[in-house]
Symmetry: D2
Subunit: 368 residues, 4 copies
Amino acid sequence: MAGSTFGSMFRITTWGESHGDGIGVVIDGCPAGLSVNEEMIQAFLDRRRPGQTRYTTQRKEADTVKILSGIFEGKTTGTPISMAVMNTNQISRDYSEIAGYYRPGHADYTYDTKYGFRDYRGGGRSSGRETIGRVAAGAIASAILKELGITVCAYTKSIGGISIDYSKCSKENIFQSPFYMPDLEASAATEVLMQEKIKELNSVGGIIECIISGVPAGIGEPVFEKLDANLGKAILSIGAIKGIEFGSGFLAAEKTGIENNDPYFYSETGKVEKRSNNAGGILGGISDGSEIVFRAAVKPTASIAMNQKTINKEGENIDIRIKGRHDPVIVPRAVVVVESMAAVTLLDMLFQSMTSRMDSIVKFFRKE
Amino acid sequence: MAGSTFGSMFRITTWGESHGDGIGVVIDGCPAGLSVNEEMIQAFLDRRRPGQTRYTTQRKEADTVKILSGIFEGKTTGTPISMAVMNTNQISRDYSEIAGYYRPGHADYTYDTKYGFRDYRGGGRSSGRETIGRVAAGAIASAILKELGITVCAYTKSIGGISIDYSKCSKENIFQSPFYMPDLEASAATEVLMQEKIKELNSVGGIIECIISGVPAGIGEPVFEKLDANLGKAILSIGAIKGIEFGSGFLAAEKTGIENNDPYFYSETGKVEKRSNNAGGILGGISDGSEIVFRAAVKPTASIAMNQKTINKEGENIDIRIKGRHDPVIVPRAVVVVESMAAVTLLDMLFQSMTSRMDSIVKFFRKE
Amino acid sequence: MAGSTFGSMFRITTWGESHGDGIGVVIDGCPAGLSVNEEMIQAFLDRRRPGQTRYTTQRKEADTVKILSGIFEGKTTGTPISMAVMNTNQISRDYSEIAGYYRPGHADYTYDTKYGFRDYRGGGRSSGRETIGRVAAGAIASAILKELGITVCAYTKSIGGISIDYSKCSKENIFQSPFYMPDLEASAATEVLMQEKIKELNSVGGIIECIISGVPAGIGEPVFEKLDANLGKAILSIGAIKGIEFGSGFLAAEKTGIENNDPYFYSETGKVEKRSNNAGGILGGISDGSEIVFRAAVKPTASIAMNQKTINKEGENIDIRIKGRHDPVIVPRAVVVVESMAAVTLLDMLFQSMTSRMDSIVKFFRKE
Amino acid sequence: MAGSTFGSMFRITTWGESHGDGIGVVIDGCPAGLSVNEEMIQAFLDRRRPGQTRYTTQRKEADTVKILSGIFEGKTTGTPISMAVMNTNQISRDYSEIAGYYRPGHADYTYDTKYGFRDYRGGGRSSGRETIGRVAAGAIASAILKELGITVCAYTKSIGGISIDYSKCSKENIFQSPFYMPDLEASAATEVLMQEKIKELNSVGGIIECIISGVPAGIGEPVFEKLDANLGKAILSIGAIKGIEFGSGFLAAEKTGIENNDPYFYSETGKVEKRSNNAGGILGGISDGSEIVFRAAVKPTASIAMNQKTINKEGENIDIRIKGRHDPVIVPRAVVVVESMAAVTLLDMLFQSMTSRMDSIVKFFRKE
């Protein structure tokens, strides 16, 4: 069944394979009147582009985006925004070897079982390149959120066990590290770790944290369309993500009620605030006006050059060594993907929340 | 916007408040010809019924289900199955106090902000009683899955830090513990812990694990409708769940590629198997034929009788002590809710997977 | 697959069979703060209740609605509104005869083929009683539309070839006729025709016209979610409706461009108006600010007592005479169903239109 | 809100404007293993291409389709199929005149009101060129249906009042007429009529009939997802369609029950057949195994060169003469669009019907 569309009111549909003609996205439901240009999309895409440091794959991919529809005289028209990145650097080497066996940790076997065969070139649709469409959409969602005073900010919380303590959202800090890890000491330690793993022909995983600021209280729909449930789906739909937690998350399981509840208080200006944020900014599936905080676990890159045991299609147990140019850690490149999916999801939920109250609706339509 | 419907081909819509006339669910998309009776629904509901042990709320709720449509001569007709549990034991005590302030850890403040006011009696729609509809639907989804050789099995993995090592799925074991914790030693230790917390007027959280056996490979839709993404949404839509992880989950973030990849091998009978299951049975969002394994973090019950700081609607910072009969831990009663949502989600994804291949479709329609 | 839910932001799910325990609807996405009571729902339901005149079935059905959730202190809470009409007058006569053959013009054969068997009592789910849920939902949608200055008004345009010329919307006029035919001369002629058809044990069809006033320009989404496309789906989903047309409709096929185009002009007050309304108030799928006008063709009642040829399940060609109490014409009772579905659809489209423009969205969220 | 996606299991998303970079479609939910190439898509597109006869617009548009994803080694992979037609012949003449006023019968005014401004070049998103994406998708849906023994066949039933009697489905006949009107005498009379209308600078409308053969009984979902309801939405979503009717359609309103009911009988081979098809092959929203028949009313082309009255944005009532190359009748070019939308809808409903019965589902998953 169709699975390449996400969202309800702000809806994205992605297409494309790693080694096909290109990768793209159609955004439907973008309001009219937003200023959009290719540069702002490209800036987002560049954050996931490979080949920037020695800790990401050495493939060179220009990944230049082109907007094909939905913009007129620099502004969105309210009609679908189609964007595409045509593939240019896909080396047409011999993939017949990879076609014949199932790489551990990859979707080779599951695609073959599901569909009867697969486009095995570079992972096909299950390639990380599929996220290009998500990020292009994330750039536009973020631009809309910015107009509403909302900022989405993701960064690397840990790699291979090296973890940082951080809870702000300064892109300046984040962009200083090749790992988007806004603690330069930890970032330097991670460089040492990565050099070791590269030498081993191995890979590592990590954790991405995301903080969303400026969200008004009241966003998210009970019962099944809770804000955290939808963010959860969005983030878990990114390949390699194996878990997500909000606020105190799994630690909440070990806490008591008095420890985990966040006491409310009125600030001096009369604003409702909380003394802690174990809830991660969401109560009953609805934003409470404080920062939304979640963390996602990223598994180590499945493609490693070390010797691995697996099977081929001929019914044999075999040993393989995966060739090619792969990321020893995908966490840094996944940061902007997490940020993009969070932005897309939040925007959709914001739109959904507009019909919660009769008084707001009457005011909206009786403008004059 | 509408948020009380879950699923696409097998779809459930729940309704009802804690202290309204009743709670119910409409199941749409249930295939015709399944034997269904009220006893099988009731058996599921009884697993979440309060008042069974001293470790759950002492409220007595009969929670007797009635099937109102969709069944004819003992079998489903393919039309909507409407089920309701009418409320009978809702004490009509004075709720004016609770109406005036916002309980920490509850959805009081977020509902008020979103909707302008709230049905404050017993939590209204955000009450745990809302899950009655989910569990009734879960009973039917589980019955269908059983016909397909699939078993969904949830149990308590930890409470207040007391954790067990378990990876089977024996309902017999599980039902022996008042906490649905299939390690009787740990269960006994938990009883001691709970008595302490009850005395403190405090509460604790825990972790629920769920194992799904018998799922064929090929279930789950790339890209956004991944099986894990949908299970994630389903489980995170349950109140009090703060995180979910699949397979090695958050531990994957600390592992290397060679540790986390699951090597394939052919069994002696020629079956494709894996030497480990860090993937939790899902690769690229699609089931790989091994057991699906996930864990969900449950926060401690927000309703505690200890003194807490909060605010009232009059703009004052106040101290409160929440009265009433509350669960000192909700993990045990949430076990069947997790199991139900997993069953509903998996069934929906199974149905969605039926159109993956032309050859299967041609065979389906060209039966004769 | 699930087919009993309609709408996206304002969403209704109906359940129930003609001779089951009851019939109901769950409305999800109703904004909070609307005054709702059972009387206003009942008033709508009474318009489709049988047994009121000799031209409708002589079955007595109280059809008393009960609201089960979603209302607190007389106002909607924003949570699902569950409403049910329990069946009381369903005569438990012997249906074994009808179970064995397929009535022409009914869904007996198609249900049996689709599901393998059917609830044959009184038509089961394909009974006209299914529309009770739609009408209950229509009452609430109409109440919301009223707050926005919008009126939906349906009436009988023709019965058995007797047609009226009418283009206002006066419920007073409409309710004076037992056929909801706001031309009392034509209504009287129809009485004569009906007496003849009743004597013949035959039935007749007719046309229902619907006028929607007060809709602002800009409602409806290009491309597939056009306002007329969604109204079309809604109306064609009512049993017995065989066609729908907007504005000049099928007559447009015989017109020239200069005849069919509606010239715009500025009224004296500077308002944009049109000199004709061949468009039926919709251009490019979007409302143009004038009245929305459509007509629906209703087939003659399929249940007739005349001798008919058909088949039984034993493989025989047989003759039948359908017993029971049936409407000689269903047009009058269908009027409120058409009105209800139009109201539900229009409201959903109004809600969908709220995110068309950045400036409106920014204003909505930056209220203070 | 998002409106450019159609379908549930077989889902199409279109994008693009008349004078933008191009027009395209993403098909999601196409099963794996179907042979697809650009030639078969192009053959469909050529049926709607302008400039073929003197009765269609004299614009030359190559409309060459390119498949960008979803095909590997000549077969569908189960992943999204992205197709695009890049715009090449869009004359960049001065559109400033058209930008300033509202053409009668067009969506200029409604788009401006909805979105605040519009891409006025050639109609933008409301242009007939938008249907290119629908037709490309229709080519693929038709190819799948063909594998299942189902044929969709549309043709011109009438133009400007010249109507034909036809109820077969011979593409050979249909393609002989420049109007796709499979009665060469009527087609010749239409040529005379068209020459007259072209001279007048006027345009005409017409009716398209569609016959679908080979559909098994049991397709279509009660209650809201009836087969006719979904076909109705699909066809009414095509610009310029003002009405749709099934089987006897609006004539049913003037018939009696005994005339309109279709008696069943067993054929000599024991097959269930009907003696007439007033139902148009659908009863209770579900296919009955006979031919599905519907007709759609197409309004006359709104763009005419005759003098017309309208308004400009400056608040003035003005006279206009629309320049450019326009179709004096759009019926012939709309035939393949109707056929395409019918194919897409039917396929989606076929897929939806696969979960109607437990026995079929069990058989599907327990293949071995």
